[in-house]
């Protein structure tokens, strides 16, 4: 690889060493409580996994972090700033980029236009955008081959690569990944997870949400178990993998 994927360098966070600090976060859809009293932290450079079953509140948690879903209580601070009530575009500008569940690439646009859109907030820095785009193409050579192709015609795995690449053009200081393994063949899941590890190794801080607990905990440093909207357990990932309750409930052996 010619050069590093550059995420903006994470400056030392003010008041604590956490890049992302979540305290007592709750969110609800009307009267239905989706997540309740979540405490969570991610330090710069970490790869943290949140695992849990269907309907545990994983996606709601990520949507609340990135402003797509309003918080009903609690506080989210990013790099020492309270971002709890910020609109999504401001949160993205601050450096939290989310890869949505189900990829959500812009089907009628080309691969290249999708990537350009990822760099929407960085559009005044065309030199950086150009370099970063080349880095994404180096990371995912298949995207370089298909740069003029419409995103809707890509396979599921390629769309996931595009979704990740698009988020990287947003200059993430924290990358949120929502179920990147969803609907992919095992070989492709392996490929995507290899890339996640590689990105983290290059200094991108990652919060990974996964139903595929085994794969997620295998690459993460720390993990949180989310059950019916609450954090049921948190520990280093290796400990969670060895934990009997976790094994029975999520790993199936």
């Amino acid at each position: 690889m010619p050069s590093e994927i550059s995420s903006a360098p994470a400056p030392p966070a003010a008041g604590g060493d956490r890049l992302l600090e979540v305290i007592g976060l709750s969110s609800q859809y009307g009267p239905v409580r989706a997540i309740h009293q979540i405490d969570l932290g991610v330090s710069a450079g970490e790869l943290v996994a949140i695992v849990g079953g269907n309907g545990a509140g994983k996606t709601t948690l990520l949507h609340t972090l990135s402003g797509l879903q309003p918080a009903s209580a609690g506080r989210i601070s990013f790099d020492g700033q309270d971002i709890t009530r910020w609109p999504p575009h401001r949160i993205v500008a601050a450096g939290i980029c989310q890869v949505l569940e189900g990829r959500q690439v812009f089907a009628p646009l080309t691969v290249e236009d999708n990537l350009r859109l990822g760099g929407y907030r960085q559009r005044r820095d065309s030199a950086w955008l150009g370099q970063q785009q080349e880095r994404v193409y180096t990371l995912f050579p298949i995207l370089a081959e298909r740069r003029r192709q419409l995103a809707g015609t890509l396979s599921g795995g390629q769309q996931q690569m595009l979704a990740i690449g698009r988020a990287l053009l947003g200059r993430p200081r924290l990358l949120l990944l929502d179920e990147p393994s969803m609907g992919l063949a095992p070989l492709l899941v392996e490929e995507i997870f290899r890339v996640i590890v590689e990105l983290n190794g290059r200094g991108v801080t990652i919060l990974l949400v996964e139903q595929n607990a085994r794969a997620a905990l295998a690459i993460a440093g720390r993990g949180y178990i989310l059950e019916t909207g609450r954090i049921a357990k948190t520990a280093p990932a290796a400990e969670l993998l060895a934990d009997d309750d976790v094994r029975r409930a999520y790993l199936g052996y």
């Binding site: 797509l68 609109p87 959500q104 929407y120």
Partner: protein, 321 residues
């Protein structure tokens, strides 16, 4: 190269009156088609690209027309200044209206814009003191561009075609910019667009305002060209016609909107021979196009030409770009 289609279109527009000199059909229907193209291309930015429907777009067409009509006849303003005032009024109205209304989606947005169009029409009819009411306003002076008074069908053809080409050119460039891509992102998935850092409320508002400006611009020209305005030109039927042009031509394509506007203008002229059955044939044709060319006339016809071409040459059809 990117604008090759545009140059070809501009050349065709310029050549038409030379190929058919003193042809009433070309210059008069052409001018009318030109105004429709401005309206459709503007509405396509909102509908085709940003994915937001407006069933009240004739209102902005009317704002431009009445601004020019009232300011020139009642206050003696120079026509260009009145045109600018019309643009300003339509832009402000769209901006003020966009924030609350664009929170709505789908059918609700359609209903709200419909209501807006109806209210605007009621105002045109009822505010007799300003608008002349149902009788309209007559005696609008000719457009005066820095001393040049636009008079006669051929001159009007030139002015409207120049304005139309400007509108098409603006649209082509806008669509291919970061703002245009942001709009298409909003259309594709609002969540995903937000995750790109696009302020979706703002992007939608901008699209609404820009398309209102296109409509008001066409309205001002229309008022001067006709020298007369009345509420009938800006009612619900006109709004629906504009939507039809955009859908007929093919959503999310500038030349699609151009095609749709020209096709519908010609259709209305051509159908006059059917007299009472005009609407019947009109509706049937639209249904046929939607069934057999769901992507719209522009894409449908381009593909048909391609197939024909490759059948004649006997080679494989090129992959769709």
């Amino acid at each position: 190269m990117r604008l090759a289609g545009f140059y070809a279109f501009a050349a065709a527009v310029a050549l038409l009156p030379a190929l058919f000199p003193d042809n009433y059909f070309v210059v008069v229907i052409g001018a009318s088609a030109g105004l429709n193209v401005i309206l459709a291309v503007g509405l396509n930015l909102l509908m085709g690209y940003a994915g937001q429907i407006s069933l009240g777009h004739a209102a902005f067409f009317g704002v431009g027309a009445y601004a020019s009509a009232i300011l020139t006849t009642r206050f003696g303003w120079p026509s260009l200044l009145a045109l600018a005032a019309g643009l300003l009024a339509a832009g402000l109205l769209a901006w003020g209206f966009a924030r609350p209304i664009l929170r709505l989606r789908g059918h609700y947005l359609a209903m709200a814009t419909l209501g807006f169009g109806v209210i605007a029409h009621v105002v045109m009819v009822q505010a007799t003191h300003w608008t002349g009411g149902p009788d309209g306003l007559a005696g609008i002076p000719p457009l005066n561009v820095l001393g040049w008074r636009v008079e006669g069908d051929l001159q009007w053809y030139g002015v409207i075609m120049a304005a139309m080409l400007l509108a098409v050119w603006l649209s082509l460039n806008l669509v291919d910019s970061q703002v245009g891509r942001a709009l298409r992102a909003v259309h594709g998935s609002e969540f995903a667009a937000q995750m790109m850092g696009v302020d979706t409320a703002r992007a939608k508002t901008q699209a609404f305002v820009v398309s209102a400006l296109f409509a008001a611009f066409a309205g001002s020209l229309f008022a001067h060209q006709q020298a007369f305005v009345s509420p009938d030109s800006f009612n619900l039927a006109v709004s629906v016609e504009l939507v039809t042009m955009v859908v007929l031509g093919g959503l999310a394509s500038t030349f699609g909107a151009v095609c749709g506007a020209i096709a519908l203008t010609l259709l209305q002229q051509g159908l006059v021979v059917f007299e009472d059955y005009e609407m019947l044939v009109h509706g049937a044709l639209l249904m046929a196009v939607m069934i057999f060319m769901p992507q719209g006339l522009f894409v449908g016809l381009t593909q048909a030409v391609r197939r024909l071409g490759s059948a004649l040459v006997g080679s494989k059809p090129p992959a769709a770009a």
